[in-house]
């Protein structure tokens, strides 16, 4: 779960079935695109994401949930840490793989829903 950091933050996890990197969207779905994430703007918002994380884990949708800090500088959430940026995109050495490949191939559609 979350370490000590300041909002804004979003909730990420891996899909139980596929292992794919996913984010909790405002719609309540788990999506591949970090930019579509539901944003926590304050401490109560983070607490809410953590509660939603526990529920999703209990439902068996996702594993390894984590609330991560993001920046909103570009208008949509983008992780502040290197590791989370690589998770959001895919391997920097294989740009044909991971979420970056999915978004390049599928730019006009909404990100696919992952999880059960």
């Amino acid at each position: 779960m979350s370490g000590k950091f300041s909002p804004p933050a979003v909730l990420t996890a891996n899909s139980l079935t596929t292992g794919d990197v996913v984010y909790l969207a405002a719609t309540g779905e788990w999506v591949a695109d970090v930019a579509a994430s539901q944003i926590a703007h304050d401490e109560p918002g983070i607490a809410k994401l953590e509660a939603l994380a526990s529920e999703a884990v209990k439902r068996g949708q996702v594993v390894e949930t984590e609330v991560i800090p993001v920046t909103l500088e570009t208008g949509s959430p983008w992780p502040t840490g290197n590791r989370e940026r690589i998770r959001a995109m895919g391997p920097t050495v294989r740009q044909d793989l991971g979420n970056q490949a999915r978004s390049a191939a599928d730019t006009t559609q909404t990100p696919e829903t992952a999880g059960a």
Partner: protein
């Protein structure tokens, strides 16, 4: 090579069905992640940054062509068309889906493979010399002993929950290509003056955050008593190894704390109890195992090298490739051929399904259907007649597999790093690629000569940086990747730990720092000294000076 008997088949198949049931129950919500995680790890299934990762055991790095074809098929069918060969002579797949894992394990079982003990605090894959059973410089094939140890250590009830993971390596050659002194137990096969086969035993080596060179605790253990002696070592470790702190739980910490002499004394004290229990009793089993590893019946090909000499004389690319990528074979007219998985700008250890299939085909045609995986993340065709090398080379060229850089600067070990690994704190592959790009001049590479660069993306040291002639360790420094440089390590018979040069370098500085080290070496070397020889003669000081004082 070893072939499963009825028991092995039944056991591995039952294990697949157990896991299938566990996955079904997990997906149905009958098992929680806390309940399921240890079960999937016991079957080699990790969760990494982007997906599940499956690590498949390749016992002592030996594969048949049928097995390699199956590994290719799994890469194509269930992954993204490639696999990554590891420093434990295993393979791992980076993009596995949980629901596919049982089918993959069933496919593996069909070719006598599995993913058992590729994770967890147990005895991991036994590694050995990639040229075992072929090398001109070995006493005898170490793989029957590695197989004996594998059978003894597989699901050993006493050693399934050790304080920490446990790694054993065996070599039988003068030149140590298995890094035995950087293992929890390193075994060197030797023959006594009386002609008896036995082992020199080293314990307490390892890398990670507290690197140590293994210490010799026995000059000679007769082969028939090997297992009881190993069991005595494991018992002392299992009883007294620390379980309170995972960073101090490896056997090296215990050996260091007790001192090698006291550790050895405790092992000797334990040993008779194990021997009495009959661990070594069934030596007839060993003969059965050894029969699977009979020396290959190779004709003398000395006079049948065909156009080989003409191609060597007329084709520099080919002759350099032969010079770097072949190793002396015990049979006249033969070599062991290393196929580099370090192409210019590639990713160390990665091979596509098509590449694996080509290597499998070549092994059928020219190497008795056998392939080896090296701990330096390359592949080997162990038994190749020289006369076939030109044809093999020509076909490898077309597949991007003919890089003639074995043992040269660009033949780097690199862990997956933060591009894939959940433990990593920095990326390592981009550094390996940047170095590969900088040193793209083959003439310069040959001039620099033998040099091992090893890169890890965190202190766990899967990239063996402590044993690199030049080691690079990526760390996270306040959110920025930073790379420590170290020099003078070796995993070979002259094992040594690399020494840190000083403050680390940024990602955009580390390749220049490597170049500074190379320049310093070239400026200091005498005659044909290798990098390591020069380093050992002049020490760290001139390198430090060049790296830090010049600016």
């Amino acid at each position: 090579m070893y072939q499963y008997d009825e028991f092995d088949h039944r056991f591995v198949n039952e294990r697949v069905e157990d896991f299938r049931d566990q996955v079904t129950r997990r997906l149905a919500g009958e098992l929680t992640e806390d309940q399921f995680k240890p079960l999937r790890l016991m079957n080699g299934l990790y969760l990494q940054l982007h997906a599940y990762m499956l690590r498949v055991a390749i016992p002592y790095g030996t594969l048949s062509s049928a097995q390699l074809r199956m590994l290719a098929s799994i890469a194509r069918r269930y992954d993204k068309g490639y696999g990554h060969f590891t420093t434990r002579q295993n393979i791992q797949y980076n993009w596995i889906k949980l629901q596919d894992a049982p089918d993959i394990l069933a496919d593996l079982a069909s070719v006598e493979m599995h993913a058992i003990q590729t994770s967890g605090n147990c005895i991991r894959n036994i590694t050995t010399d990639q040229f075992a059973g072929a090398a001109a410089d070995e006493v005898k094939d170490p793989r029957p002993y590695a197989e004996l140890i594998r059978q003894w250590s597989s699901l050993h009830p006493e050693f399934s929950f050790l304080p920490r993971k446990f790694k054993i390596a065996v070599t039988a050659a003068k030149q140590d290509r298995a890094a035995i002194r950087l293992h929890d137990i390193g075994l060197k096969l030797v023959e006594s003056d009386a002609g008896e086969t036995g082992f020199e035993v080293f314990v307490g080596g390892g890398m990670g955050r507290t690197p140590m060179i293994g210490q010799r605790i026995r000059d000679f253990i007769p082969e028939r008593e090997l297992l009881s002696y190993l069991e005595a070592i494991l018992r002392v470790y299992n009883r007294f190894g620390r379980r309170d702190n995972k960073y101090k739980a490896r056997i090296k910490i215990l050996v260091h704390a007790l001192g090698a002499d006291e550790f050895a004394r405790q092992v000797e004290e334990e040993w008779p109890h194990v021997r009495e229990a009959g661990v070594d009793a069934a030596w007839s089993d060993f003969a059965r195992i050894a029969a699977f590893f009979g020396a290959p019946d190779l004709a003398d090909e000395t006079d049948a090298t065909g156009e080989f000499d003409r191609h060597i004389a007329g084709n520099t690319d080919f002759s350099r490739w032969v010079e770097r990528n072949t190793h002396a074979h015990r049979s006249p007219g033969h070599v062991s051929l290393t196929i580099s998985l370090k192409p210019h700008d590639g990713i160390a250890g990665d091979a596509t399904a098509e590449q694996m299939e080509l290597v499998a085909d070549l092994s059928d045609e020219a190497s008795l259907s056998e392939i080896r995986v090296t701990h330096e993340q390359n592949l080997v065709l162990p038994h190749v007649a020289k006369g076939k090398l030109y044809d093999i080379w020509s076909r490898l060229v077309g597949a991007g597999l003919a890089t003639g850089n074995i043992g040269l600067l660009t033949d780097m070990i690199s862990c997956p790093g933060m591009d894939y690994c959940a433990l990593a704190t920095a990326r390592s592959i981009p550094i390996q690629q940047a170095i590969s790009q900088r040193y793209d001049d083959i003439n310069r590479l040959h001039d620099i000569g033998d040099l091992k660069i090893k890169i890890s993306g965190c202190i766990n040291a899967c990239g063996h940086h402590h044993a690199g002639h030049i080691g690079i360790l990526g760390v996270d420094r306040r959110g920025v990747e930073n790379y420590q440089l170290m020099l003078g390590g070796s995993g070979a018979e002259d094992a040594a730990l690399a020494q840190v040069t000083g403050p680390g370098f940024g990602a955009d500085e580390i390749v220049d720092a490597v170049e500074t080290v190379i320049q310093t070496y070239l400026g200091s070397r005498v005659d044909n000294e290798s990098f390591l020889e020069t380093y050992r003669r002049v020490g760290l000081a001139p390198f430090k000076e060049a790296l830090y004082d010049a600016a």
